[in-house]
């Protein structure tokens, strides 16, 4: 179970991982559209009305950015790094993020965010009822767990694909995902 959740790249073939990743991406696209969520960067999600096309383009941009930056980093560390291993890393590592849109069933979080905005002044903030904050607190805590899970998956996938070891590899990985996040945010903002 531990292997399946955190180190699937060590056990499963690239074909199986690619199929799982693509299916998950298609399901993710569908649910982000239905539940009005949008991934606007590798590590950023907002609640907004979205079309299916926008959702597909967002996913493609994020997967491409992760793939490009991790592949370049992988090649720097290990010349035999294969593109397919990096693509499956980018696709599979994003799967846990697709759980997050379910927090917005019936637009719960979108409404909660709007309500909080009504209390956005120093005088009003003390009057904010706790019930308004609870969905966002729950989402934030769960979101943090999912974020750690995704980064662990990304690192384990990168480690397997690029035979990465040591502090240097971790630093290169950190820079790669930070650049992928910045590039995906820029591209989604300007292109989509």
């Amino acid at each position: 179970m531990k292997t399946l959740l955190f180190k699937p790249f060590e056990k499963y073939s690239e074909q199986k991982l690619l199929i799982a990743g693509v299916i998950a991406m298609l399901i993710g696209v569908l649910f982000t559209y239905i539940l009005n969520c949008r991934f606007v960067g590798v590590f950023q999600m907002i609640f907004d009305d979205i079309t299916v096309i926008q959702s597909i383009i967002d996913s493609l941009i994020i997967t491409s950015c992760l793939t490009i930056f991790l592949f370049i980093s992988g090649k720097l560390i290990y010349k035999k790094t294969r593109l397919i291993d990096i693509i499956v890393t980018a696709l599979v590592s994003f799967i846990p993020f697709y759980i997050l849109p379910f927090f917005n069933i019936n637009d719960t979080l979108m409404e909660s965010t709007k309500e909080i905005r009504n209390y956005a002044s120093p005088d009003m903030v003390v009057q904010m009822p706790l019930e308004t904050l609870l969905p966002l607190i729950g989402f934030s805590l769960f979101g943090l767990i999912v974020l750690i899970w995704c980064i662990t998956l990304l690192y384990n996938g990168f480690k397997t694909a690029a035979n990465a070891k040591g502090i240097k590899a971790m630093v290169i990985f950190g820079i790669a995902i930070a650049l992928a996040d910045i590039a995906s945010r820029y591209l989604i903002f300007h292109l989509n």
């Binding site: 790249f9 073939s13 035979n163």
Partner: protein, 93 residues
């Protein structure tokens, strides 16, 4: 009774230095040869690494076949082979 294959020690249990063969004997005529013979590089690898190389030869050097046999992914098996090659190079130097 299960016959368990004895593990050949390659490092000194006291100081971790590589061991050498200092005595060889013939099991038929009991001739004994004394000297100081270094162990071949492959024998200095761990049992796990030796088994891996053995499997690698049995699959005609196909990492894909090995990955399927070991139920591991291709890059995992390739990384293992590269790690063993690195160990062999270190032992040779």
């Amino acid at each position: 009774m299960i016959h368990q294959m004895k593990k050949l020690p390659v490092n000194c249990p006291s100081c971790e230095s590589p061991l050498v063969a200092s005595q060889l004997s013939c099991s038929e005529c009991e001739t004994v040869i004394s000297g100081s013979y270094s162990l071949p590089v492959l024998l200095q690898l761990s049992k796990e690494d030796q088994d891996f190389i053995f499997e690698f030869i049995l699959t005609s050097g196909s990492l894909k076949k090995m990955a399927a046999k070991m139920e591991k992914s291709y890059p995992t098996v390739r990384n293992k082979l590269d790690d063993i090659l690195e160990k062999i190079n270190n032992l040779k130097n």
